[in-house]
C-alpha cells in the first residue's frame, strides 16, 4: 500500500498579485517538488502565477478583474468562480487521492469539492484567518471569515500547521485538535547549501572586507525587522566595517528606511527589495552571520510562525542569531546551534552579533551544529514524507470523513 503512487491536487485560491515568491509559494512549490521526486503525480490549481516543475499539470483560473478593488469581494467571488471551474475539470483528472489546500480567508471551495467528489482534504493552516485579519490587517465581514474557516475545519481530514503555538491558537478558535498535525517549514538542500558560488556578488555590492549581517524575508511586523534595524547603530559602534544586508521587502519597508536614516547608518545597510527566489541563496551565502529577529504578537499570543529563513540559514551552514520566541526556542538551542537573544531588544541582538564576530570558533561550532540538525530533520523531503505518511495512516484507519 505504501508503495502506491499517489495523485495529489494542490488547490490554491489566494491572490499573490505579480509576486510568484513568498512563504506560501515556497512551501507549496517545495512540497510539490518532493512529491514528484518520489514519483507521485501532482495537479495544481491556482488563480495566481507560480513557478513550478514542468511536469506538474497546471490549471490556472485568473481572478475576475472587475472585482479587484474591494479585496474581500474579490475573495468571495473567487469562492464561487473557482468551484464552478473545478466541477468541470476535476472529473477529467480523477482519481485524485487527496487535495492539499493552503487556507485563505473567505474561501471554502476545497471543502465543497471534498464533499462532492469524496476526496480526502488536507488543509495547510498558516494561521487562524479571523485572527490574522483582526490583528495584522483589516477585518471586514468577520462572520463570513469565521464561517468559511469553520466549514473547512469541519470538512477536512487533516489540518497541517507549522508549529505548536499555531496548533494552540487553532484549537482556541475551535479547530478539532485530533485533526491537527504539526509539519513545520523546511529547506531544499539542493538550493541552500554551504558550497554556493557567489564570488562576484561581494565585489558587485562593494562588500569586500566587510563583516556582513544578513536577514531574508518579508518585512512584516512579526519578523521584528525594526528591532534588527535599531541594532545597526550598536553594532557599528563596535564593528565599523559591518554591513547589514536586508534581502526582501514588505509593509515595514518605510519604517526600516526611517530607522536607518534616523540612526545615520545608511552606509552600513543595503536593502535589496524583493529578489527572485533563485538569487536569495547567493545573497545569504556572502553573509558572516544571519539573523531571525521574530517577535511575539502584540495581542499577547506567542510568535506562531515557522520562518522558512531559519531552515534555509541552517542549510547554508552560517552562524545564526535568533530571538527566543515560539518555534525558534524549539529548533534552536542557545550556544549549540544558534545564539538565542531576548525579543524586541536591539542591544541584545547587537551583543550576539559582536560575540559571533569576536569568537570565530563559537561561530563555526554553532553553524556546523545547525547544518547537521537541518540536514537530518528539517528538509522539505522530511515534510513531504510526513504528508504522505499521514495519507497512508488515514487510509489504514479509514477515518476519512465524507
Amino acid at each position: 500500500m505504501e508503495d502506491k503512487k499517489l495523485r495529489a491536487l494542490f488547490w490554491r485560491i489566494d491572490y499573490t498579485g505579480a509576486l510568484v515568491d513568498g512563504g506560501v509559494s515556497t512551501t507549496v512549490r517545495s512540497l510539490i517538488k518532493e512529491l514528484i521526486k518520489e514519483g507521485h503525480d501532482v495537479f495544481y490549481f491556482s488563480g495566481s502565477r507560480a513557478k513550478l516543475p514542468s511536469n506538474v499539470k497546471k490549471y490556472y483560473l485568473p481572478f475576475n478583474r472587475f472585482y479587484r478593488n474591494f479585496p474581500e469581494i474579490f475573495a468571495l467571488h473567487y469562492n464561487f468562480r473557482s468551484l464552478k471551474f473545478a466541477k468541470k475539470f476535476l472529473p477529467k483528472i480523477q482519481p485524485i487521492d487527496f487535495i492539499y489546500h493552503p487556507v485563505h480567508d473567505l474561501n471554502f471551495s476545497a471543502g465543497i469539492l471534498k464533499r462532492e467528489f469524496k476526496i480526502p482534504l488536507f488543509l495547510q493552516a498558516d494561521g487562524v484567518q479571523y485572527w490574522i485579519k483582526k490583528n495584522w490587517g483589516k477585518l471586514f465581514f468577520a462572520t463570513l471569515v469565521r464561517w468559511a474557516e469553520e466549514i473547512l475545519w469541519t470538512l477536512s481530514d487533516r489540518i497541517f500547521t507549522f508549529s505548536t503555538q499555531l496548533r494552540n491558537l487553532l484549537v482556541e478558535f475551535g479547530a478539532p485538535e485530533e485533526k491537527i498535525c504539526i509539519n513545520p517549514c523546511g529547506f531544499d538542500p539542493e538550493i541552500f547549501h554551504p558550497e554556493i558560488d557567489s564570488s562576484n556578488l561581494k565585489e558587485r555590492l562593494g562588500l569586500q572586507k566587510k563583516f556582513i549581517v544578513g536577514f531574508s524575508g518579508t518585512f512584516e511586523l512579526y519578523h521584528g525587522i525594526t528591532y534588527l534595524a535599531k541594532s545597526i547603530k550598536y553594532v557599528v559602534h563596535r564593528i565599523p566595517e559591518v554591513v547589514f544586508l536586508f534581502v526582501g521587502d514588505g509593509s515595514f519597508r518605510a519604517q526600516l528606511d526611517e530607522i536607518v536614516k534616523q540612526d545615520n547608518v545608511q552606509k552600513n545597510s543595503i536593502i535589496t527589495g524583493f529578489l527572485p527566489f533563485e538569487e536569495v541563496p547567493k545573497y545569504l551565502s556572502i553573509c558572516d552571520v544571519l539573523v531571525s529577529p521574530g517577535i511575539n504578537n502584540p495581542d499577547g499570543t506567542e510568535f506562531f510562525n515557522s520562518p522558512i529563513k531559519n531552515f534555509e540559514y541552517m542549510g547554508l551552514r552560517k552562524p545564526i542569531v535568533a530571538t527566543a520566541v515560539g518555534q525558534q526556542k524549539e529548533i534552536f538551542q542557545n550556544r549549540w546551534n544558534a545564539l538565542l537573544v531576548e525579543e524586541k531588544n536591539p542591544e541584545a541582538i547587537a551583543e550576539a552579533i559582536w560575540e559571533i564576530y569576536k569568537n570565530p570558533e563559537l561561530a563555526q561550532t554553532i553553524a556546523n551544529n545547525a547544518y547537521q540538525e537541518g540536514i537530518s530533520k528539517h528538509t522539505w523531503a522530511h515534510r513531504a514524507r510526513t504528508l504522505i505518511e499521514t495519507f497512508f495512516e488515514l487510509n489504514r484507519s479509514k477515518i476519512i470523513t465524507v
Binding site: G17, A18, Y67, I73, F74, F141
Partner: protein, 133 residues
C-alpha cells in the same frame, strides 16, 4: 520634479523599462494599504510635482488602479499615470477617469453588495445544514 509613489517593485527596473530618468523623480515608497489613507496620500501629492506616477511590478496584476487614478485627478498636476517593471503604462486622462473609471467603480461597489448578500445566505446554509448532512 516628478513624483513616483512606489507601491511595489523596484524603482530602477521601472525606470529602465519605461525609459525614464531616475534623477527627474522624487521616489516615495508606499504600500497598497496606504491607498486607503487619504490624509497621508494627500500629504504626498499636494506638492507642486509636474507629474505623479504610481509604480508597481505589473499593471496586469495590480489592484486599486481606480483609486490611484483618482488621487492623480485630485492632485495639482493632474498629469502622470501608472507604470510597471514590464514597460506597461496606464496614462492618466482626466475625462476618462471621470466618465469611465469612477462610474465603473460605483458599478463594482453595487455588484459587490449583491455578492455579499448572496454570500451570507450561501455560507449560512452550508454552515447550518450542509456540513451536518
Amino acid at each position: 520634479m516628478k513624483l513616483l509613489l512606489l507601491v511595489n517593485g523596484n524603482a530602477k527596473r521601472i525606470f529602465e523599462a519605461q525609459s525614464m530618468k531616475q534623477e527627474d523623480f522624487e521616489i516615495i515608497k508606499i504600500n497598497e494599504k496606504m491607498l486607503a489613507k487619504p490624509r497621508k496620500m494627500f500629504n504626498y501629492i499636494c506638492h507642486n510635482y509636474s507629474e505623479i506616477y504610481f509604480g508597481c511590478i505589473s499593471i496586469e496584476f495590480q489592484r486599486f488602479i481606480p483609486f490611484m487614478l483618482t488621487y492623480i485627478l485630485l492632485s495639482k498636476s493632474k498629469k502622470g499615470g501608472i507604470i510597471d517593471e514590464e514597460g506597461a503604462k496606464v496614462k492618466f486622462n482626466a475625462i476618462k477617469t471621470i466618465l469611465i473609471t469612477i462610474p465603473l467603480l460605483v458599478v463594482e461597489a453595487i455588484g459587490s453588495l449583491l455578492i455579499v448578500i448572496y454570500s451570507f445566505v450561501y455560507y449560512f446554509i452550508w454552515r447550518k445544514w450542509k456540513i451536518k448532512n
